[in-house]
């Protein structure tokens, strides 16, 4: 099997030149369940040269995390995993190593940085103790010695006030700071190899940028080697020297980042690169679906303000409110904007910026403290709950999480039927007709009608979510991070669907997303939010091409970008 591209020869030459560091040769992993064996990895060949970063890209289920686990010797023992091939680390074959030897290597020579920093720390143990644990175990340091080292390490990875934070508990850290602490935990014993498994996926763009810079700095300073795993080819391109693309347990191609990005040998790699909307490119996907003639609305009228938000203020009551003095957090501080008939308005910002709060206020899932939400001249906030239930159906929402947004006790058909029955009295036949129409429109055939949500894939679930929003024939659809939980290639398909439906049904979209590249490719206008306020708004091209606000510029600069990376490299 030789799935490697042209780059592998160069990579291998380097490996040999530096004395083989980590090289995975012909690695296959099979899981044996009760009656069948399933191949999870097929003849994987990967090489991490001394002091270099190998980026591993793939979608969920491609086997990239499994590869990391195999290196660490941490594959689950039941069901049992059968391993074939060799994993050579500094000349030693890890597949033949005993558990005791592997345990010796883990945490001292090989370190792991995981995806979700909040989950990877023990919630009831102080950070300093967890950071210094490898030193206590592998180096036999005393707790006092180790604590001092932990402070130094925290300082080195850029955690502010390390003397105080060393005794803090994980929940007292922010996500970004916690991931820094996780890095500190990994580098304490000066390992020679770091496995970073989606280390930035759970983080905001600007934080992600800082973490990647930190990792790159550490690699340069200490001559660390790293296996950097991510589903996002842009992120990988911004840090890796070499790049390997995995799919269905196989390495499709591998080689220096430049050659893979500029001349992908495999269609799948091209697809991955295409699926990522480029920040610099003019690829406004929606134009493909709206030929000039159809852009005109059927009944011609001035594009009027369909939805108008005025001075909206929302606050949450904090859980640690005192007995007699309740404490509040301001989520939205008097924001105003309008949405025109038939346009796609993007709302971007990082977590906590208030973009989801805005979306939820518009569909009245939240009760704003102040302000007006005018829809066709009527203030939604002033409507009685009863009238709101009628008018509200014209503004629908597609939710982020395709798992939790569907009732697990309802089949596809009954999910939609419940919506119709909650709204109007129609005969069963009429309802069935409408259900079939809308499901066909979102691309779900009759074979799906009687399936439960857990029998659907992520993309199919999100299609059902879209169908549920459309079945009441709304004017406005709010897409709250509707793509972010999906794999990149699935994202592209669902995005195409959304753009097509918008054109066909003359819908107005509120496109809430943290993904600036996607927003840029589909939105007519965009709103940038930070800390509950709108910091900038305007036509997409203007905001992205010539940002006026410093925060907007910061956001745009932080985006890892394969295309610009290519320019840098070439």
């Amino acid at each position: 099997m030789n799935a490697q591209g042209t780059g592998s020869t160069t990579a291998r030459a380097e490996v040999i030149g530096n004395g083989a560091f980590l090289s995975i040769e012909d690695l296959s992993v099979e899981i044996e369940s009760q009656h069948s064996a399933r191949q999870l990895l097929r003849h994987v060949n990967l090489h991490v040269p001394q002091g270099k970063v190998l980026g591993l890209v793939g979608e969920s289920g491609s086997g990239k995390s499994l590869t990391a686990l195999a290196i660490m010797g941490m594959l689950p023992t039941s069901p049992r995993f059968l391993v074939d091939g060799t994993i050579r680390f500094q000349g030693e074959d890890l597949t033949a190593a005993t558990q005791a030897r592997l345990r010796q290597l883990r945490g001292s020579d090989i370190a792991l940085i995981g995806q979700d920093p909040m989950a990877s720390f023990n919630p009831s143990m102080r950070i300093g103790q967890q950071i210094s644990e490898p030193l206590v175990i592998h180096r036999g340091w005393s707790r006092r010695q180790a604590r001092h080292e932990a402070i130094d390490l925290l300082e080195r990875v850029g955690v502010r006030q390390p003397y105080e934070m060393v005794d803090a508990f994980p929940h007292e850290f922010s996500g970004g700071m916690l991931q820094r602490a996780a890095i500190a935990m990994a580098i304490g014993t000066s390992p020679s190899l770091i496995l970073a498994d989606e280390p930035t996926t759970a983080l905001d763009v600007s934080v992600q940028d800082r973490i990647i810079r930190l990792l790159r700095k550490l690699c340069d300073e200490d001559g660390l080697s790293m296996l950097f795993i991510s589903h996002d080819i842009n992120v990988v391109a911004s840090i890796a020297n070499d790049l390997a693309v995995m799919r269905h347990g196989e390495v499709l191609e591998a080689g220096p980042v430049r050659s893979v990005l500029t001349a992908p040998a495999r269609d799948y790699t091209k697809e991955l690169l295409d699926a990522v909307p480029e920040m610099d490119g003019p690829s406004l996907a929606r134009r493909r679906f709206t030929p000039a003639g159809e852009l005109e609305p059927r009944h011609k009228r001035e594009p009027a303000d369909l939805l108008r938000v005025e001075d909206l203020k929302v606050q949450y009551r904090l859980p640690n409110s005192q007995l007699f003095s309740k404490r509040y957090k301001l989520a939205l501080d008097g924001i105003s904007f309008d949405v025109k008939q038939g346009e796609i308005l993007g709302i971007v910002g990082e977590s906590g910026s208030g973009k989801s709060t805005t979306a939820r206020s518009v569909v009245r899932l939240l009760a704003p403290k102040r302000g007006r939400i005018m829809f066709e001249g009527v203030d939604l906030l002033a409507l009685s709950p009863r009238r709101m239930r009628r008018v509200g159906t014209r503004i629908q929402m597609v939710f982020q999480d395709p798992f939790s947004s569907l009732n697990p006790f309802r089949t596809v058909r009954r999910t939609l039927d419940a919506v119709l029955r909650g709204q109007s009295r129609q005969s069963r036949k009429d309802r069935d007709e409408r259900i079939e129409d809308v499901l066909t429109a979102v691309g779900l055939g009759p074979e799906f009608f009687d399936r439960y949500p857990h029998e659907l894939s992520g993309g199919q679930r999100q299609r059902l979510g879209i169908a549920r929003a459309l079945i009441l024939q709304p004017d406005v659809v709010i897409l709250d991070e509707a793509l972010s939980a999906l794999d990149v290639s699935v994202q592209a398909h669902v995005l195409d669907l959304l753009v097509r439906l918008q054109a066909e049904r003359n819908l107005t979209y509120l496109f809430v997303s943290h993904d600036l590249a996607t927003v840029k490719s589909v939105c007519d206008r965009v709103i940038v939010m930070n800390a509950g306020e709108i910091v900038e708004q305007g036509p997409t091209a203007e905001v992205f091409g010539n940002p006026q606000n410093s925060y907007t510029r910061l956001l745009l600069e932080a985006i890892p970008n394969a295309a610009s990376e290519m320019k840098r490299l070439s």
């Binding site: 099979e30 995993f81 391993v83 929402m397 947004s405 009732n407 549920r468």
Partner: protein, 314 residues
């Protein structure tokens, strides 16, 4: 191919062991099912069986045969489980008692679940002062030990079948309410509930059509566990003389009546107690499986398992 740390043969061994275990699990499941079905059938058809002359009457006394050990008695009649202190057939008494014990358990569970689920649903869904009031109320009931509260209320109201069930429900509804509320709190924030809001569904519709079905698996499991708990409590109350009273029969009461003969008639102590234990055990071992059946996700898992199992099992 080599495995991590163990030769491949061992893989097969663990799989086979797991299969064997799965069969033992099934054995327990079907055993429990058969036992409960037989018990319920016997309890329901007892009057008929007695009328047909296939079973001794549970009320028929024969002082000449007092405390006969299991087997053939002095007058040549056969008593499988012996006779009690009034010469009544012990097996007939046990089946008669099953009617009360099962009925008390069922009535208790129905009452406590109806009250508990409604209160937990309202508290979890609406929150605010309603939740505070309801949760303090459960605190009040949970702070008084169940049996003590039950004894106190039975002292005031008097014993008997319905009162025992109501009193036990009174002591257990707060548990159901708390479990329900906790589940509703997390379901309330799930996106499918939010989606129902945006689709214009009313409060009642969201509570009973969207949220409630998601509670069924846990309610079923909790219900079966509460059933055995109620049955055990009823036995305790009857043993103390505050539950089912003579001349009616209850397993707890039978044990109380057998107490003076603890050193002479072991069968009067062993069999009623064993009846309680086996019934509780059977219901407890069914609970997980029944809970799975009402959950579409777990249901399809079972379906896939049995599909995969059939070629090798056959």
């Amino acid at each position: 191919m080599s495995t991590v740390g163990a030769p491949r043969i061992e893989v097969h061994r663990t799989i086979r062991a797991r299969l064997a275990r799965a069969r033992i699990g099934d054995l327990a499941f079907y055993g429990a099912l058969v036992f409960l079905t037989a018990l319920v059938l016997a309890a329901l058809t007892q009057p008929l069986l007695v009328a047909m002359g296939w079973m001794y009457s549970p009320e028929e006394q024969n002082l000449l045969l007092r405390n006969s050990s299991p087997g053939t008695a002095a007058d040549g009649s056969f008593h499988l489980l012996g006779t009690d202190y009034l010469g009544r057939d012990a097996l007939s008494r046990i089946i008669r008692a099953a009617q009360f014990s099962l009925a008390v358990g069922a009535l208790t569970v129905i009452c406590s679940i109806v009250i508990g689920v409604i209160i937990g649903l309202l508290a979890g869904y609406y929150g605010g002062w309603l939740e505070s009031v309801f949760m303090r109320l459960t605190d009040v009931f949970m702070s008084i030990p169940g049996l003590l509260l039950a004894l106190f209320v039975l002292y005031v109201l008097g014993g008997g079948f319905v009162n025992v069930a109501l009193v036990l429900a009174l002591t257990r509804w707060p548990v159901v309410a708390r479990v329900t509320r906790a589940a509703v709190l997390s379901l309330r924030e799930r996106q499918f509930v939010l989606a129902a809001h945006t689709a214009g569904a009313g409060q009642a519709r969201i509570m009973f059509r969207e949220i409630l079905p998601n509670l069924y698996p846990s309610i079923v499991v909790l219900g079966t566990l509460e059933f055995t708990r109620a049955m055990l409590s009823e036995a305790g109350l009857s043993f103390l003389g505050f539950g089912i009273r003579a001349p009616e029969a209850s397993w707890g009461l039978m044990l109380a009546q057998a107490r003076p003969y603890i050193d002479t008639a072991w069968w009067l102590i062993v069999f009623p107690g064993l009846s309680i234990m086996l019934t509780a055990l059977a219901v407890n071992s069914l609970s997980g499986r029944v809970g799975m059946l009402v959950d579409p996700q777990l249901r399809s898992q079972i379906r896939h398992q049995s599909k995969r199992k059939s070629p090798t099992a056959g």
